[in-house]
Amino acid sequence: MTDWKAIAQARKLDIPPEDVAKVAPTLDALEEAFRPLLKELSYTESE
């Protein structure tokens, strides 16, 4: 799981921690759907 609170803090985003906690499950689900798609991308060839 990504630590969204840590990301918000590191990037100095003015999002209250409780609001980060609210969106974390949605972002986790989005990440879970997105990460497997990346295997289709080439990292040695330009598109």
């Binding site: 969204w4 918000a8 003015d14 949605t26 989005l30 798609l37 991308l41």
Partner: protein, 430 residues
């Protein structure tokens, strides 16, 4: 009455543009308390434009089929000297100093602006339950949402308040209200209609298009704003209609499934051939599109993000999500998008158009958050969002005879709007 019928009456002097505008204003006044379709009604401007339209026609100056026709703009289109709120507190007092390109073209075509329609806050959502301007209601059943984000435009057309209304579509925001309100909605090919002067949500996925009562009316509006040939001319006979076996025919409500089956039968009866196909990557495209939209929307609204209390709760949550997505993920999403666009471009060797339902459900109730255990927002956008990411034209037409006729979505290759009109028009004629 359609645009073409009104245009004929204007030229036969059976009715004047001022009378058309007055009737439109009367209906707006009558229905606004319940439907809340408008944020601003431009009564004085409308009557001025209508008087000018009549005066020009009397002098033999004819600007074409939209001359003297009442219409509305979603309150996201900049209009000089007229407040443009984007349905938000952020832009509540914003009065642009220039007109958007679409308004300029419609004015040049002689159309008469009745006002600016309500939308989901900042065009980022599908319910039109707006915390700042109130909920827009569905004319077919006021307990239900009109869909969004161009919900005021959908409601205004479906309730016959105006002949057509302009909307924007970033993840289905023209086609969803068309489907839920039972009117016609076109999301054209990306960038075919100018976005200049329209407040952005997601610049690489925003599309501008019309909501109308009939397919023919949509063609007439597209002629005026994008010079798309409005003569449908082509035939549905012999056309190859792709019918997705995957994704687009899954998890449909019984009413939508039944209406979709009827639409396919009707197309076959009219002489089209149905071609079962497997469409590439729709779920993946939706994922990629969400990442792009969240990122681009939070970028556009960056200067206002310190005003957290001025955003509605659902909006704030979406913008927070966008800010937490990394730049690398955004770029990867754009790279994947190009890959999917290429795969979809290969489909058109096998079929001329693709049919899908526009939405898998009919209009939900105001305040409803789940339908068959699925988030209403995700269900409403599931079948329409892919075409924002890949930029193909998609037309929604009402199909079925119930009080809430489900939408049929007709998708074609880039710049095939005229083909979409030609295939869709006979389907809507009994």
């Amino acid at each position: 009455m359609t645009i073409e019928q009104a245009a004929a009456k204007l030229r036969a002097r059976e009715i004047s543009a001022v009378e058309l505008a007055q009737e439109s204003l009367r209906r707006i006044r009558q229905h606004q308390p319940l439907l809340n379709a408008f944020i601003t009604v431009t009564e004085d401007l409308a009557l001025d434009q209508a008087r000018r339209a009549d005066e020009e026609l009397s002098r033999g100056i004819d600007r074409g089929p939209l001359h003297g026709i009442p219409y509305a703009l979603k309150d996201l289109f900049k209009t000089r000297g007229i407040r443009t709120t984007a349905g938000s507190k952020i832009f509540a007092d914003y009065v642009p100093d220039r007109d958007c390109e679409v308004y300029r073209k419609l004015t040049e075509a002689g159309a008469v602006l009745m006002g600016k329609t309500g939308l989901h806050e900042l065009a980022f959502g599908i319910t039109n339950d707006n915390p700042h301007f109130g909920a827009v209601r569905n004319p077919r059943d006021p307990a239900r949402i009109p869909g969004g984000s161009s919900g005021g435009s959908g409601a205004a057309v479906a309730a016959d308040l105006v002949f057509f209304a302009m909307g924007t579509d970033t993840g289905g925001s023209i086609r969803i209200p068309a489907s839920y309100c039972g009117c016609v909605g076109l999301k054209p090919t990306f960038d075919l209609v100018s976005r200049a002067g329209v407040l952005p949500l997601s610049s690489s996925m925003d599309h501008v298009g019309p909501l109308t009562r009939t397919v023919r009316d949509a063609a007439l509006v597209m002629k005026a704003i994008a010079d798309v040939d409005s003569a449908t001319g082509q035939s549905i006979v012999g056309r190859r209609i792709g019918v997705p076996r995957n994704f687009f025919t899954e998890r449909l409500s019984p009413a939508v499934e039944s209406a979709f089956g009827q639409a396919l039968k009707r197309a076959e009866t009219l002489g089209a051939s149905l071609v079962p196909i497997a469409v590439p990557d729709p779920a993946a495209i939706n994922t990629v599109a969400r990442i792009i939209q969240l990122s681009e929307a939070s970028s556009f609204l960056q200067p206002h993000l310190h005003r957290r209390g001025d955003f509605g709760t659902d909006l704030l949550s979406l913008l927070d999500q966008g800010r937490l997505i990394s730049a690398t993920d955004y770029v990867d999403a754009q790279r994947l998008r190009r890959l999917y666009q290429k795969r979809w471009s290969e489909l058109w060797e096998r079929v001329d158009v693709i049919f899908t339902p526009t939405t898998p459900i009919q209009a939900p109730l105001i305040g409803q958050t789940l339908v068959a255990d699925e988030d209403v927002r995700l269900a409403s956008t599931r079948l329409v969002r892919p075409f924002n990411a890949i930029g193909l034209p998609a037309l929604s037409i009402p199909f079925g005879t119930t009080g809430l006729p489900p939408g049929l979505q007709v998708i074609g290759p880039g710049r095939s709007e005229q083909t979409l009109f030609s295939i869709a028009e006979p389907l809507t004629q009994s």
